[in-house]
Amino acid sequence: MNQEAEKPRVGVYICGCGLNIAGVVDVKEVAEYAATLPDVAVARSYVYMCSEPGQALIRNDIHDMKINRVVVGSCSPHMHEPTYRRLVEEEGLNRYIFEMANLREQVSWCHAHHHREATEKAKDLIRMAVAKARLLQPLEKREVEVEARGLVVGGGVAGLRAALDIAERGFQACVVERSPFIGGRATQLNRVILTDQDALDVVGPLIDQAEENRNVTIYTNSELEEVGGYIGNFEASITQKPRYVSPKCTACGKCAEVCPVEVPDQFNIGLTKRKAIYMPYRGAIPPIYAVDDAACTRCGECVKVCEPNAIDLSGKPHDIKVRAGTIIVASGFDPLLPDGLYGFGRYGNVITQFQLERMLSKTYPAGEDVYNPFADESPKNVVFILCAGSRNEERPYCSRICCTVALKNAKLIKETSPESRVSIAYRDVRVFGKRQEEYYEEARRTGIALFRYLSERPPLVEGESPDGRLSVSIDDPTLGREVKISADLVVLAEPMLARADSAELAAKLGISRTADNFFREAHPKLRPLDTPTDGVFLAGVAQGPKDIAESIIQGSGAAARATIPISKGRVEIEPIIAQVDVDLCGGCKICESLCEYGAISVEEDEAGKMRAKVTEAACKGCGVCGAACPTKAITMLHFTNDQVMAQVRAALREEVAR
């Protein structure tokens, strides 16, 4: 149907929303007023416009009165615009000939005590909506084909779960993992909360399955350099750094024995040292040693002792291109190293909880020169301090898992060594979710002591010498006095941080971050797995602090979302984009320089003139280019200059005339 050529016939529908709107705004008066506006063929009010009978009013008018533009004055478009767009489409009209006036959230609910003014404002908003509706144009649906592959950024539990789910649905999954080994942070943990199982027993099978699944391609030691394209057709450029060790490696470990280079082992959060050729723990996947490029001196000692001849130090980085229909970001987190806090960095026996996880883990190295107070089973005096570096001005967020993790570790220490004295200094004990309250009770029954502190009077940690006994003073408001504890070890429950390069990754993917630097979801309640960028989804701690179970849930959830367009094979994209009138374009390139998506570029046309050209599928429709175009050659569909100008005039003119 060519609505373009037809003279606009606007139908206006004013919703009372029960009494939500009608209790403040005189909806009948607004409808009567709307009927007097130019091109309005019919105006009605009804108690619930979104109800079946309400929708029937609109449907009937489209047929009987040949309405070709529809204006509904009701709730926010964020609420029911999709409903009415669907309705007009079902009745054979283009969904973009619909316009909404927000009479509830932005009138009746915020002006509840000013009935007259609210009614006048409602009339103005309707006049503005009609002014725009008269100029609305049908927009063509846009569809693109979808590459049947999901790209997963990050090979931790969330990313691997997501990749496996994609793969098990019969599609390709490609995992880009920065480190030479997969499994992520979970492989560093000792035991997991609630079940107290060994972390490697929990995540091991997941890692193995991902490694073995034929539909999953894993690029370890790889960086995501650039992402181009758009939903359905992303193109990722990946650089895989050389591992210098081939799969012929038998993981015998002789190379590491002879390697003369020692560097701090980040797998053990800097507590120990490792060689330049290394494997973070026995049984890491893939079971192939890797050379730390930055540390290796190329001395060649490792090459000499390698029996299967697996080491070649002449490897070069290589570029990989991956096409993907959708992307899942599961890039994880970094634990905070709270330098200066509670003597961390000054006293060797003030450690973080992540460091404690390593010390308690069976994959933590043993040895004379390795600091581990748990190497022997003698009773210890341990104090945990919760919220160490979180819920403060710098990091106002709660890291969510640290309370339960601290309870778990306190419980494990007590169970292994009942003579140990374990205290927890807390601000609030935030145990949440299934079985966590019970777990808290279990932990308490092992005989740990809990002391409360207030954020304005944090505990004081004092030591006599860098490794000597510590004294922890806690000003407990419940006891109403200060408690002084002598401690062998102080454990700081530090928060999880967004990755240091999360801003860079956000820029590569065209997604944004919340104030805490974790990636922003499209809607905190309704679209928690999506990002505002179509086709890019979130999983795991990259989106915000969560435990393993939640990361797995989100990995599966993101995979389910990411495979919707892939399984459909085609995806519809919003036609609200920029269009260039080449006759008006002067080729000045201002638009090109402003576009964040590289969606508009100035190219030479057949006549040799420089003209802007929009890559429609890459355009997100923000309108930044349109606002800047000096010759007005750019039309922002659905928010055209004419349409917005008409709204501006309609907002002001009636009153001027009055």
Partner: protein, 143 residues
Amino acid sequence: MSEFSPRIVGFLCNWCSYAGADLAGLSRLEYPTNIRIIRVMCSGRVDPAFIIEAFKEGADGVLVAGCHLPSDCHYIAGNFKANRRVALLKRVLEQFGIDPERLRIEWVSASEGQKFAMVVTKMVEDLKKLGPSPIRPGGGDGV
């Protein structure tokens, strides 16, 4: 003569500020009825010509509201562009005898209903002190 009631045109970005205005309503926060909101996808869509048109048509004030600087913008950096344009336009407006205070840019997130209500309330108060726009019939900053 009744008390002067300023007329404000507000350009609100779809993702943050329009949702923030919705939240103000959802939270039943009351603010003056003076603003007429136009939804745009991004504050970066706001062509200075829209703002000039609003003043030309007699608006006493124009509000541009978008996602917080630096990184909240749904479209990565549209808010920066809006910020620059508004800053420049204020200088231009001043040369035409329009008090730059009449044009405001504010950052209101989807969770800042309270802030949105405060921004409008404050703007109405300030505009009342400034009086009607000189362009408005009967208005007068002496132009």
